[in-house]
Structure formats: structure tokens, C-alpha cells
């Protein structure tokens, strides 16, 4: 069955390629297989590095006290800084270090991909080791299993599911950031690495060929879905139910399993995603809820400062003088900082509210009518597989023709943010709806609650923790996307929207002002932490009041 699916998929992809190459008129179209190969290689190589380092550091952090004290807060801080914020710094460093040679760009791209992939694997490993049930740890102790034997027979089997779900996410994130990593403008010049992402960007901006861009987007999506089938979904299945403790049951009709193609398209994919996502839900919520000691907090602060110092240092060796710092920071545009901050916050808030509104109504629909839940998972599944950043050029090119440059970019930016932020809310909410215990549904039936009463007394409170978790994740990814979506290198021109993200991009990519870049990174990190502290942590605590219940 698997070989059949594999062969069918490969055949379909091959014919898609042959068809596209013969039907599309574009000077670079014959390079499509090569671009695919390069993108695949880039993402796979980075993934392997992430896997090895994630496993190593994860085991170190989970099994040793010092490791845990240093690594966990360090990685937590690193993951909460918007990844794309590092990127300009990495570009500056690698381009100047290799004098613009392709290897420098390649390393910069891989660093960006790495910073998007590493966290899911690391925290997956740490979470899984910490979650090994006490009775198993005690059983191992009582049979005197320790050292290598303990790692081999207890730890490794326990982290396999986390590695697989972490890998699924890392792999997805890699494709997500591919286009940002492969198509770069720096100092008024375009740098691009051979790959599917840069080809898509070029198709949209340089050739002005939206159709080609859409074709490429479809190709990328098909590839992502196909590779997911072949790897993660199969592995998840093999990891077996014994090791998994899914957060919620999957009750998909078993009858689908017996016809080849249908099995391929339904059985593997859809239910498995829930498992991995349910799992992520736990990892992230436990890592988020963890309370750090004073030493760990100190460590984290030192890390951030060191990191930003490093960013400033790499491009301009030597400690900058006070005058230099003054000169870099006291530029006229600095007066706009409060305005920019307000713009970005407003943009994020609007996108968040739209996402929340849609996700909530879908969640309520799914709770009230069981049939809807069955429709929503496939929607999620396909939507999730589209690398959303790749949608950006296509959307922008078509919208700017209708609304003109700035308004077009504003709408594109908001759409991108919604498209990016909604999935975390959506899946967390729909998942929570599914996990409402039968008894509680029965109670509401027995009491004779009507639609609105049920929504108010049962559905909304039941999904509140999921809304909070989903919100935290969606804001984290939103901060990231905002850096990408406010700044648009459009052929040789650059279009930008007033905002923190574009300010950061301009400082780094147009002016090479690393001191300002470091300063803006600090501001952004402070904002991320402030929003987290002031809003989400409070809500989490509120939700925790009943979280221990059989929910």
C-alpha cells in the first residue's frame, strides 16, 4: 500500500513537472528540477543539523542539572525573539565575511532556516524526557537499568514521538521560511540563491508573471504534502500507539482505510496531524508555563544582551564609541519610533481579532454540529501545508494592481498576518471542542440548554485555555511575519509600510546600521515579553484555575 502510494505520488509529481516545463514560457523554467533539488537539499541539510543539535542539547538539558539551568532559558529566549529579526544581522555578517560569494548567502539562509527549525525539536525532546512517567523511571531504577541502557531502553523510545512531531513542525517551518531565506535585498542589491522560493519571488517581481508564481506555489504545496506523507505521517504511524498519549481521541471512520488512494489522502494525513499537534500543545504549554528561578532569569537577560551585542559586533568589529552609538541612534527617523510601534501593534491586533473571530465561530460551529468538525480538519490540513510566506508576492502583485502600491501592501500584509495567525487559534480551538468530555455534553443536554446557553456555559469556558494557548502561538508567529510583510523589495524598488518591522529591515538592509538594528531588536523583544506578561500569562493563570480537571 505504501509503495503504491509512493509510486503514484512520484508519478503525479513527475508528470506535473513535465507538464509545467513544457507548457510554461519562461527563460528559467528548465531549471525547475535543479531549483527543486537545491531547495530540498538546503532544507534537508539544515533539518539534519537541527535534529542532531536538538537531540544533543535536548538530552543534555533534560538529563543534567546544569544543562537544564543554562540551556532551557537560553533556548526559550532565543525562540521568543522573532526569528526573522535575526536574519538581517546574519545577512550582514555572512555577506561581509564572504564578500558576497554564494556560500555566504547559503550560510545565512541556512542559519535562518535553522533558527526556525531548532526549537520544536529541542523543546520536544526536553518535554518528552521530563514527561516519562514516574513509575517507568522507578521500574528502571528497581531493575538497575542505568547509563547507556537507560538511554537506549527508556529515554530514546520515549522521545521518538516528540522527535517525529518536532520534525514535522520543523520541516514545515523550513518550507515556510524558504522564500524569505532565498530572496534577499541588501544595500540596494538583490541577492538570490537558486531555489524554488527565489524563483517564485522572481516570477512575481521580476518577470511580473503571476500565473507562473501560482503554478510554483502549487508545486511547492504538492511537494510539501507528498513529502509529509512519505516521511512524518508514516513515522508517526510506526511510532505506535503505545508510545503516544494523544491529547484527544481521533474517531475517524475506519472504513476509509481500504481503498488505496483514499487511504493515501485521508487516513494517513488528517488524523495524524491532530496527534502531533495535540502533542505540540502540551510541549508548548508546559514550556510556557514553567516558572524560572532567579538564576535562570539572569541567564536569559545575559543571553539577550550578549546576542544583540554580537549582532552589533559582527558587522562593525571593535567596540563602538559613544559618539558612534549616538550617531546611529539619533537619526531623524527615530522620532517616528512611537508611531511605528503603534502601527505594528495595530496591524497585529487587527489581524489577531480577525483570526480570533473566524476561529471562534468555526470552533462553535464544530461544537454545535458534529458534521462541521469533519469538514474543518481537511481545511486545516491543506491550509497548513501552503507555505504562507510564498503567497506574499502573489497576493501583493495582484492586490497592488487593484489598490495601488501602499494600500495593496497594507491589505497584503494584513491578509498574510491573518493567514499566518489563524491556524494556531483554529486548531487549538477545534481540538478543544473535540475534547469536551461526553459527560459534560450529556449534562448540557439533560439540563435542556439551548444554543446560546450552551455556547456561553459550556463551549466558551471549555475552549478558553485553548484560546489562550492559541493566542500565544499566533502572536509569536505574527511578530515574525510582520518583519517580512511590512517591507517589500519589489524588483529594484522597495515598498514599505510604516512599522517596526520595516524600520528594522531598513536599518539593516538599506543603511547597514547595525547599532540601530540591535536597538530595534531589543525593543521588539521587550514588546513581545511585555504582551506575554501583561496579557497571556494572566489569562493562562485564570484558565489554570480549572485546568487540572478532567478536561
Amino acid at each position: 500500500m505504501h509503495i503504491f502510494g509512493f509510486a503514484m505520488g512520484l508519478l503525479a509529481i513527475l508528470s506535473l513537472y513535465i507538464f509545467v516545463i513544457s507548457a510554461v514560457h519562461n527563460p528559467e523554467i528548465s531549471n525547475l528540477p535543479y531549483y527543486t533539488f537545491r531547495s530540498l537539499l538546503r532544507i534537508s541539510a539544515t533539518y539534519l543539523i537541527s535534529l542532531v543539535t536538538g537531540l544533543f542539547f535536548g538530552l543534555l538539558a533534560a538529563t543534567t542539572k546544569t544543562g537544564s539551568m543554562i540551556l532551557v532559558p537560553l533556548f526559550d529566549v532565543l525562540q521568543s525573539i522573532p526569528i526573522l529579526g535575526y536574519f538581517p544581522a546574519a545577512i550582514i555578517f555572512f555577506i561581509s565575511a564572504f564578500q558576497g560569494a554564494e556560500i555566504g548567502l547559503e550560510l545565512a539562509a541556512m542559519l535562518l532556516l535553522y533558527t526556525s527549525m531548532e526549537w520544536a525539536i529541542f523543546f520536544g525532546v526536553v518535554g518528552a524526557v521530563k514527561n516519562i512517567p514516574t513509575n517507568i523511571v522507578e521500574a528502571a531504577k528497581s531493575f538497575d537499568i542505568k547509563g547507556y541502557g537507560y538511554i537506549r531502553h527508556v529515554v530514546l523510545p520515549a522521545i521518538v514521538p516528540a522527535l517525529i512531531s518536532g520534525s514535522t513542525l520543523a520541516w514545515g517551518d523550513g518550507w515556510f521560511f524558504m522564500i524569505a531565506a532565498e530572496y534577499i535585498t541588501y544595500g540596494g542589491k538583490n541577492y538570490s540563491l537558486p531555489g524554488l522560493g527565489s524563483y517564485l519571488a522572481k516570477a512575481a517581481y521580476e518577470y511580473g508573471d503571476t500565473n507562473l508564481a501560482i503554478v510554483l506555489l502549487i508545486i511547492i504545496t504538492v511537494l510539501v504534502v507528498y513529502i509529509n506523507f512519505l516521511t512524518w505521517h508514516r513515522l508517526t504511524e510506526r511510532a505506535g500507539s503505545g508510545t503516544y498519549k494523544p491529547i484527544f481521541r481521533t474517531d475517524w471512520p475506519k472504513g476509509l482505510a481500504f481503498s488505496g488512494i483514499r487511504r493515501f489522502s485521508h487516513m494517513h494525513h488528517i488524523p495524524r496531524i491532530h496527534l502531533s499537534f495535540g502533542f505540540r500543545h502540551t510541549i508548548l504549554s508546559t514550556s510556557r508555563r514553567r516558572i524560572y528561578s532567579r538564576i535562570e532569569k539572569g541567564m536569559a537577560v545575559v543571553t539577550v544582551i550578549a546576542l544583540i551585542f554580537l549582532v552589533v559586533m559582527v558587522a562593525k568589529p571593535g567596540i563602538p564609541s559613544l559618539d558612534e552609538i549616538k550617531g546611529s541612534l539619533l537619526i531623524p527617523e527615530m522620532a517616528n519610533l512611537p508611531f511605528y510601534t503603534a502601527c505594528t501593534l495595530t496591524r497585529l491586533t487587527i489581524a489577531y481579532l480577525i483570526s480570533l473571530g473566524i476561529a471562534l465561530s468555526m470552533g462553535i460551529l464544530a461544537a454545535e454540529k458534529k458534521g462541521f468538525a469533519l469538514i474543518f480538519y481537511p481545511i486545516y490540513d491543506i491550509g497548513q501545508s501552503v507555505p504562507i510566506l510564498a503567497l506574499f508576492p502573489i497576493l501583493f502583485v495582484s492586490l497592488s494592481q487593484i489598490f495601488g502600491g501602499s494600500l495593496g501592501l497594507e491589505i497584503t500584509s494584513l491578509t498574510m498576518l491573518v493567514a499566518d495567525m489563524i491556524w494556531y487559534l483554529f486548531l487549538n480551538i477545534v481540538t478543544a471542542v473535540k475534547t469536551i468530555p461526553d459527560e459534560i455534553r450529556e449534562v448540557s443536554q439533560l439540563i435542556g440548554m439551548k444554543g446560546l446557553q450552551r455556547v456561553r456555559h459550556i463551549v466558551l469556558p471549555a475552549i478558553l485555555p485553548a484560546v489562550v494557548t492559541g493566542s500565544i502561538l499566533s502572536w509569536a508567529t505574527g511578530w515574525n511575519t510582520v518583519i517580512f510583510s511590512e517591507y517589500m523589495p519589489y524588483g529594484t524598488k522597495v515598498l514599505w509600510l510604516p512599522g517596526l518591522g520595516s524600520f528594522l529591515d531598513k536599518a539593516a538592509l538599506q543603511e547597514g546600521n547595525t547599532i540601530l538594528l540591535g536597538f530595534l531588536l531589543l525593543i521588539m523583544t521587550a514588546l513581545v515579553i511585555a504582551v506575554d506578561r501583561l496579557i497571556w500569562r494572566r489569562l493562562l493563570r485564570k484558565a489554570e484555575r480549572y485546568a487540572g480537571e478532567a478536561m
Binding site: I440, G448, R545
Partner: protein, 267 residues
Amino acid sequence: MKVLEVRNLSKVFPGERSIVALDDVSFEIGNDEFLCIVGPSGCGKSTLLRMVAGIESANGGEILFHEKPISGPNEKITMIFQHFGLLPWKTALENVRLPLEVHGIPKEGAMKIALEYLGKVGLGDFMDTYPHDLSGGMKQRVGIARALAMKPEILLMDEPFSSLDELTASTLRREVLRIWADPNLPTDTFLMVSHNVSEAVFMADRVLVMSPRPGRVVEDVKVDIPRPRVEHARDPKFFDTVEYIIQVIEKACGGKLPGCEVNDGIG
């Protein structure tokens, strides 16, 4: 006087391999009666209870409540659950209040009734506590208060003591019997589902024994032990009745016990 009559009830769960959960089940319960249904796991006894509660539909036959067929939830029939069924986001008081308010009792009145019933189950001091911070026994007391506050005629109980530790369960059993005997409470007819035979003999007037799937009523055993049963729980008659019911279940399972989880722990 009969309060509830179940007539030729059957239930099929459709699916690839459809499951016949209940097949031609008939019995009746009189006013003031305490009836217990026992049977092996999966014999459809919980399904039967849910059909009486009006939250599960029948494929054949009917259930009559005061001669009228049941077609949906009825405020005169309430239920307590194995896992308590409390809303974790509501305090003890709010949990008891909610059904009252849904049925249109104004907030003030609902509050008064809820407090009164929480007091009756000994939880007056815990009205503002969330279920998370209550012990299992206390949670079930809230469940009982919530069910009784509606002043139902029939109280349904779905294995109400099986997720509690034995000491707590034993205390609560006596309390439920006290409530059943209380002339000041309008709730006089109790229908309980259990897989604990001693518990059934300890509490019920009649024990209905069901066969494994498809569930049928195999025997209707009248428990002829005087009350209060606490004083007679060591009588030979008590043990004989328990033993007899276990034999009936074993026979219904075809003489083999595997797959027929029969709990004969002391109630």
C-alpha cells in the same frame, strides 16, 4: 402505582458492524421504588439509563413516564454521573444553580434553592469552591445536590460510586438511601446502574439482571432483606442473594467469566 414503564425497548448503534445494544427490554418501576440494573460491561445498561433520561433515542419500543412516552430530556427526571459531570469552570454553587436558571427560575430563587441543597449534602461551606479543589466524594455530593435541586420524581444514577474509594463510596451509599427515604423530598423513585452486585443488593428493592450484548433482562430479582440494610449486611440472606445474582450473571454469560466483569466487592 407505576411511575415508569419500559416496553419492548431496543437500540441498535449503526456502523460498519452495527451493534445491537438492547433487545426487547421491558420492565416497570413503581413509585417509592429503588431499582438497580446490573450486568456485565457492555450490556447496554448505561445506554438504557440515557434513554430514560431522554438523551438517547430508541430504535423500537417506548418508555412511558406517567403513561406518556418520553421523547427528550424531562425536568422531572435527573441524573448523576460516574465521573460527576460537573462543569470545571463553575463553582459548586454555580453548578447547582445552572439547571435551575436554564429552566427559568430567577437568579435569586435559584441561588436560594442551590444553597439549600448544597446544605443538604453537607457542602454549605464549599459553595464558592471549584470542582478542581473538591475531593471525589465532595464532587459527587455536588452532583447529587444538582440533581435533587430540580425536585425530580426520578433520580437516575450511572455507576455513581464506582470512581470513588471504597470508604467514601460506602458513606455516600448510606446517604443516598437516607435521601431516598426522606419523606420531605419529592424524589422517591431511584434507578441505578451498577456492576457491583453487593452494592445493588445493599441498596435496591429489585435487581434487574441483564445479559451480555445484546442486552436483555434475564431476571428480575426481588431483594427480600429488611431495611435498614446496614444492620443486615452480615446476614446469610444477604450473602445468599449476592451469590444468587452472580450465578444468574454467570449463566447469562454462558458459564464463563472472561469478559464478564462482575464485581462482588462488599458494599
